[in-house]
């Protein structure tokens, strides 16, 4: 479980390319690949510098028309999903 003070960061072994509405990503070592949707791609972009979930939410709410409550729930879910894919770590 992660809390509001948790700092999230990218796994440096991924490279990505924005194509159409997706961010297509490839793992340098394993060759595993994944396509991120617009929200997850925006989150990945924000994590260019490690940061905590509150900061991520603030930046996403400035970009997308979404309520604080919905944003909090969705970002928590996306971060866990991205952690499961070894895209990010806390």
């Amino acid at each position: 479980m992660s809390g509001s003070s948790t700092i999230w960061q990218r796994d440096a072994n991924w490279v990505g390319s924005h194509i159409d509405d997706s961010l297509v990503m490839l793992h340098l070592e394993t060759g595993k690949y994944v396509a991120l949707n617009r929200t997850a791609a925006a989150l990945w972009d924000i994590l260019e510098e490690p940061c905590g979930q509150p900061e991520i939410e603030a930046k996403l709410m400035a970009r997308f028309a979404v309520s604080a409550e919905a944003c909090h729930a969705e970002i928590a879910a996306v971060l866990e999903q991205m952690r499961g894919l070894s895209l990010v770590s806390a």
């Binding site: 490279v15 990505g16 390319s17 924005h18 194509i19 159409d20 997706s22 297509v24 990503m25 490839l26 340098l28 060759g31 690949y33 396509a35």
Partner: protein, 329 residues
Amino acid sequence: MPRSPPCWSRCAASASFLPDPVSRDVYLAEAFGIVWCADLPLPGFAPIAPDCARRTRLPVVRVEAGAPAERPVLRQNRRGAIHADGISLWWQDIAHFDMWDGDRVIYTPGPGWTGTMPAAFYSTIAALLLAWRGAVPLHASAVVVGGAAVLIAGAAGAGKSTSVAAALIAGGALVSDDLSCLDFAPGNDAAYLKRGRPAIRLHPQSAALLPGHPAMPAPGDPRGKWLVEPAFCPDAIVRLGGVILLGAPEGPLAAIEAAAHIRGMLFRPRWMAALPGQRARLMALLALPGVVRFAGMAPLTAFDSEGLAARAAALAAFAAAALAAFAQG
């Protein structure tokens, strides 16, 4: 077809140029966007006259005999070593190669040297040098069909060369066989192929379908292939129109489907993973589906004229779609 750009290079070695006058003991050849200036003939590349070489404004790489150098090793690879300023490797007992800074290759004949440059020079050594210079060497063949350059990638035995042969029979021009050199315009918004070796390795049955072109058994080829010199692309650098992945699901491929094949497209992937710049190579390849069309086609393992004609027609249709996409901007 958009005009080919002048050759760019991310390597400081591009400042190198051809001396004037050129010594009579120097042999000049052109391949992969480079003028190779050697102290022995390089029959695996296309010969080029000094005046033509100067006009191309292509960077020059020197190839000379010499002694192996003692250099600090950054990373040991299966067959050689990576240094801060290049790579070194033994090719069997035939020759030792020292590549320096992407602009010089020193070869040292070994006990198995036969008096001519081994085939590895035209493939592995060339690919490592190209990667060092910032280009992306691919295990793929390429052909110009109806005015568009089409790259054909796939596993060994999938029929890359045979697919190219099908297009050649239908009037295409060879860009490269087995080793292709991909480069990108700054910003990665356009991709280019650099014309490779002028010969293609074909099964004898396919070679027989290309009459009227110089052909001979490929020396030392374990599969008994022949070397054929077909119509060669007249431009040293051509804009890439699209990519065919043999063995991928047939039809247009989305970026995520193409991504599944990206790493497998690299030439000598273990070496590439160890060389500097692997992140940039893979990022450029990942961006490729956003720049050109990708499509899957079935492997081509038969050599009947109907099968080759069908493949030529499919490649022509793909090339026409690529050209139409260029026209739409």
